[in-house]
């Protein structure tokens, strides 16, 4: 192991400029990859927040008895799909309306035209079943009508799916670019060491003995790339949290930064580096 490590370090040092350029290229790729992930992560949070704020409004029939209302609320609770259920009587609703519209206009009507309503806030995980849930609510005897912001929820779903698909495509494209960068670098290192490798073969070295230093080199380049990307992300983080930036783009400073990614990234970088080195070396023939 010590011999392989020494050989790998020597190899990287001898090709220091190629190594540095590969690390920077990989760093930029990993930075973009993490950028994709961050956008996706924040869109998830954003849609979650927004959709939990959208309530199903249930309009009740006139003359509904309080016992019937509380029975219906119990039934809604039993469904287990709502995070919050709130009853608003027609008297409360008109009071609220008077705060928005000129009360004299309402008095002109001469009676309270509003219905008793129940606002039910759906849980994020049940969002995809919203149509089925509203249908079952509509079937309840005391329910007059049900309203939910279908267009908003549909648009959010669409944005989420589009971003996920884009992220998957981006992930594969950038991962492929990373594989190719390491592949080309290690292939170049291998060619430079052809004479050395031929000597090793003549002395009875096994393919794994020959491969090992190159796999280490690939892993180190992958790790270096992620460290560089981490550095770029740190700079970005500082920038997003700077005072002048928050005044300039206040919405952007709401971005959340998943710290877990800083642990996963080096593992991913090393794995990609080792994998592409393995492919770069191909089958070692005698």
């Amino acid at each position: 192991m010590k011999t392989h490590l020494k050989s790998a370090i020597n190899g990287l040092w001898l090709n220091k400029w190629s190594t540095l350029l590969s690390v920077i290229s990989l760093g930029i790729c990993f930075f973009i990859l993490t950028g994709f992930f961050m956008i996706l992560y924040n869109v998830e949070i954003f849609t979650k927040r927004l959709s939990t704020k959208a309530a199903i409004v249930i309009y009740l029939k006139d003359q509904t008895k309080p016992t019937e209302i509380s029975a219906m609320i119990d039934q809604l609770k039993k469904m287990g799909v709502f995070s919050n259920i709130k009853y608003i009587s027609k008297d409360e609703a008109i009071k609220e309306m008077k705060n928005i519209i000129d009360p004299s206009i309402i008095e002109l009507i001469g009676y309270n035209p509003l219905s008793d309503t129940v606002e039910a806030f759906i849980k994020e995980e049940s969002l995809q079943d919203i149509e089925r849930i509203t249908d079952s609510i509509k079937k309840m005897q005391i329910v007059d009508d049900v309203y939910y912001p279908a267009k908003i929820i549909g648009a959010l779903k669409m944005i989420k799916i589009t971003l996920w698909n884009l992220a998957v495509v981006g992930f594969f494209l950038i991962s492929t670019a990373i594989l190719f960068i390491v592949y080309a670098t290690i292939k170049n290192f291998y060619w430079k060491k052809t004479e050395e490798i031929e000597i090793l073969k003549l002395l009875g070295a096994t393919p794994s003995y020959i491969r090992f230093p190159f796999l280490i080199e690939g892993g180190v380049i992958g790790l270096g790339g992620t460290i560089f990307a981490g550095f770029l992300l740190f700079l970005l983080y500082l920038l997003l949290n700077s005072r002048s930036f928050s005044e300039f783009l206040p919405a952007v400073t709401q971005i959340e930064f998943p710290v877990d990614i800083l642990v996963l990234m080096p593992i991913f970088g090393i794995s990609l580096g080792v994998l592409s080195s393995f492919f770069a070396l191909g089958k070692i023939k005698y």
Binding site: T3, E198, I199, L202, G204, A205, T206, Y209
Partner: protein
Amino acid sequence: MIIFQGVHKYYSGIPVLQNVSFSIQKGEFVFITGPSGSGKTTLLKLIFGSEFPDEGEIRVANFEVSNIRQKEIPRLRRVVSFVFQDFRLRQDLTVFDNIALPLRIIGEKEKDIRQKVMEVLKEVGIRHKVESIVKTLSGGEQQKVAIARAIITDPQIILADEPTGNLDPEASEDVFALFKRINTRGCTVVIATHNSDFFKNKQYRVLSLKEGKIYENSS
């Protein structure tokens, strides 16, 4: 130890070896001679598993070289060492690191490696050059390093292709004496050379190659 049975080898359809059959026993010292292009190097490469016959069978130290699998070749090369005319040394490394290379390949401990390298350097007579970079050595010294590297793993067979081809007469005598010493320890030595001075008027087994055919004669 080495058995050739009806071996044919062609390069681009041109026969280099034709129906070559011979055997070499353990501990023998054999010269393979013949003019340039007669197939001496090809014959050594066939023993070493870096070339394969088009017809016939080759057996070397329990290895069926004519049908050897790729993964068995490293194992073959741990019992058969090759000394090249152009040395094939790592010019950028020290004498120590060059000789230690085969031991590192088989995973020997560093402490044992140092001891073995020093012993073998003493045997070939260049102990004082242990820390020298190979490219600073003379041809004769480099050939001694190559021989030291070949014998460090205690192989059963040593093959040498024109080992004195690039050396002056004095250095050649030294190298030849070294091979004889190695042979006395029971190691089979096969030397390909066109220089008949080494075996002229001496009792050695000589295999002559002429137009791809082998002839046996004692010197």
